[in-house]
């Protein structure tokens, strides 16, 4: 019987093809939007994480409370051992020490007198003998001249500031800053390369040097302001990050040490909470919108189709089906339509999302001088969710649409189903 009905369904293009197209279109859009939004939001989160916050960040408690002031006098000490124990406790994560600092760059002339000066916001990261941080911060494409530091004492700086200070590659500059113990710190660097980010905040005055140089410069022996933690080869997962922070912080709850370390998940830093919450809810939002929109469309299509089919329904009642059976077959038919439409929609949606993930859409020209840390290439992100998310609106909307449309069968008296035809 079911087979017989499905045969009819497939032959009646207005009942099969059109709803399948509607479902497939809705599913395609759902799949594409889901992968695109989760890609874009995820990438924003990742670039913020890679650049400043990490997926989690370990600091001293007072540093975390004043982190916007980059208070290196409150930095973590004994970083070697701390990092080792972090690695042991969280083997699924990678850890990177960083020092953020502010200061003044002074370019001397041949006589040692100041030629030009500029304010810098600096970062000390592992640059020598490792490309891990260069990769993580995606610095390669931002290098506009020179090369990455290859020996101690070399540094990278913003191309814009370099020009403003009339510096050339290889010039010596002095960093003037305050050391960890409140002392005045002076340290000489050689400019080895210049960077351009297209982000005003960074291009105004960024300098990046190897963390060991920065330690020497600021008297921060075996210390660092922050240790960033990243889920190895994985995107930010708010639940895991929160769990990690909770278990790490539990060890220090009763610590009397005023400078005890504290771990903060990304969602609690730099107003990232909103973005994280948004990314977590984005699937639900898209799916709900499409379920409602498609169910309304399919409900109406089902009503029209149903009106046309009163002859069939009437006949089926006459040859001995109950209304209940007829209703169930309508729902079963819609389920089949929903599955076929969803499969097509998911496949096409993935085919569209795929180039958006691998190639992406370069929006850097539109994003010139933005103030946000936003990836310059918009990319989709196909996750496990992407594969099944389309089925939710695809199937629910057809079934809900059919159920709503089918109620008419119950509302109408059996005999009237025939009258509709005779009229």
């Amino acid at each position: 019987m079911i087979q017989f009905l499905f045969k009819g369904l497939m032959r009646d293009k207005s009942r099969s093809l059109i709803p399948i197209i509607v479902v497939a279109l809705g599913v395609i859009i759902t799949v594409f939007l889901q992968s695109l939004l989760s890609g874009v939001i995820g990438d924003s989160i990742e670039s913020t994480a890679n650049f400043t916050t990490g997926h989690v960040k370990v600091m001293t408690r007072p540093y975390s409370e004043n982190s916007s002031q980059l208070p290196n006098d409150l930095a973590l000490v004994g970083v070697d051992t701390l990092k080792e124990s972090l690695q042991k406790q969280f083997p699924e994560m990678t850890w990177a020490e960083r020092i953020q600092f502010g200061g003044l760059l002074d370019a001397p002339d041949s006589n040692g007198h100041t030629r030009s000066q500029g304010n810098v916001s600096g970062m000390g990261i592992r640059l020598l003998n490792s490309t891990e941080e260069i990769t993580r911060m995606n610095l390669v494409p931002t290098l506009v001249s020179g090369k990455f530091p290859s020996k101690p004492g070399e540094m990278l700086m913003s191309d814009e500031l370099c020009r403003k200070m009339k510096l050339k590659l290889g010039d010596k500059v002095t960093l003037i800053s305050s050391g960890m113990y409140g002392d005045m710190a002076m340290y000489n660097f050689t400019v080895s390369g210049t960077l351009h980010f297209g982000i005003a905040m960074l291009d105004r005055g960024l300098m990046i040097a190897d963390i060991e140089d920065v330690r020497s410069a600021l008297n921060m022996e075996n210390a660092s302001g922050e240790i960033l933690g990243f889920f190895t080869n994985a995107r930010y997962d708010n639940k895991l990050a929160k769990e990690a922070a909770k278990s790490f912080n539990a060890q220090y709850v009763s610590s009397q040490d005023k400078f005890a370390p504290v771990m903060v998940p990304l969602s609690d830093m730099n107003d990232m909470g909103f973005l994280v919450a948004y990314s977590e809810n984005v699937q639900g939002i898209i799916v709900s919108i499409f379920i409602i929109a498609m169910a309304i469309v399919l409900w109406n299509a089902g009503l029209l189709g149903g009106l046309r089919r009163y002859g069939e329904f009437g006949l089926r009642l006459a040859i001995g089906e109950s209304k209940h059976e007829v209703y169930l077959t309508i729902v079963a038919e819609s389920l089949l339509i929903g599955i076929i439409g969803s499969v097509i929609g998911v496949i096409v949606g993935l085919l569209i999302s795929w180039p958006m993930q691998t190639v992406g859409w370069d929006i850097s020209s539109m994003m010139k001088d933005s103030n946000f840390l936003m990836p310059s290439v918009m990319r989709a992100h196909i996750s496990r969710t992407t594969y099944y998310i389309g089925f939710v609106p695809g199937i629910l909307s057809t079934v809900i649409g059919a159920m709503l449309a089918g109620i008419g069968i119950y509302k109408r008296q059996t005999a009237n189903l025939f009258k509709e035809l005779e009229g």
Binding site: D12, L317, Q413, A415
Partner: protein, 261 residues
């Protein structure tokens, strides 16, 4: 006795009140009848037929169909009765356009959970009775009105129901086709002893009826059983011939009946 209608009243809600379509109908139908409910449009023929066919329920009184009280059947039992014992023929054929002639006729058998082989045998045999063996694979849209109604008759007959209810079966047909399908049905009535109840106001149909129940305004106004069923038109039809032979139809699936039509 196959159907007994007892003090049947049917009221339809209209606005704040009711419209009484049947006003106390009493009738008895016996097995093998070839009977028509005859009356002007609006006299209650369809309403009565629908209640006999368990597609509608009485407001008052009762209808006993094959020993079952229609008013007391739940929807499932009513569906069961229709599935096993009743056949319906409609004015507008009501064939399903996406299915072939074969599939349309096969449809009622699917509900009876018959094997594919048995279904095929039955369908072909029934199509032979109505003379449509050459249209097995056609779609309804490729058939004439007369052919469509013959498919509908085959669909009603394929499960060998005891009672066939036909509501204005000739209303959309020209004279020749009307006579053709009436002969077919009369033949089936005679050979298979299937009971037929028609609703009609078509004079051509009335000519074939063995019993005429006249309805007017929801009431039975006359119930005649002509001693000699009028057969004038019948005789004049060229295709009428070997049909009156009274061997069982079931034992001769090929040839005789098909040839007669």
């Amino acid at each position: 006795m196959i159907v007994e209608v007892k003090n049947l009243v049917k009221k339809f809600p209209i606005g704040d009140g009711f419209f009484t379509a049947l006003k106390g109908v009493n009738l008895v139908f016996t097995e093998g009848e070839f009977t028509g409910l005859v009356g002007p449009s609006g006299s209650g023929k369809t309403t009565l037929l629908n209640i006999i066919g368990t597609l509608d329920v009485p407001s008052e009184g009762d209808v006993i169909v094959l020993s079952k009280s229609v008013g007391n059947l739940n929807p499932k039992e009513a569906a069961q009765l229709r599935k096993e014992e009743l056949g319906f023929i409609f004015q507008n054929y009501n064939l399903l356009p996406v299915y072939t002639v074969f599939e349309n006729v096969e449809f009622p058998l699917l509900l009876l959970k018959m094997s594919a082989g048995e279904r095929k045998k039955r369908v072909l045999e029934t199509l032979e009775w109505v003379g449509l063996t050459d249209k097995v694979k056609s779609r309804p849209s490729q058939l004439s009105g007369g052919e469509c109604q013959r498919v509908a008759i085959a669909r009603a007959m394929v499960k060998r129901p005891r009672l066939v209810l036909a509501d204005e079966p000739t209303a959309n047909l020209d004279a020749a086709n009307s006579h053709h399908i009436l002969q077919t049905m009369e033949k089936l009535n005679r050979e298979l002893k299937t009971t037929f109840i028609f609703a009609t106001h078509d004079e051509k149909v009335i000519g074939y009826l063995h019993r005429i129940i006249r309805l007017a305004d929801g009431q039975v106004v006359a119930d005649d059983s002509p001693l000699n069923p009028p057969k004038g038109d019948f005789k004049s039809e060229p295709s009428e011939g070997t049909f009156t032979n009274n061997t069982s139809l079931n034992s001769s699936p090929s040839g005789r009946l098909g040839g007669a039509l």
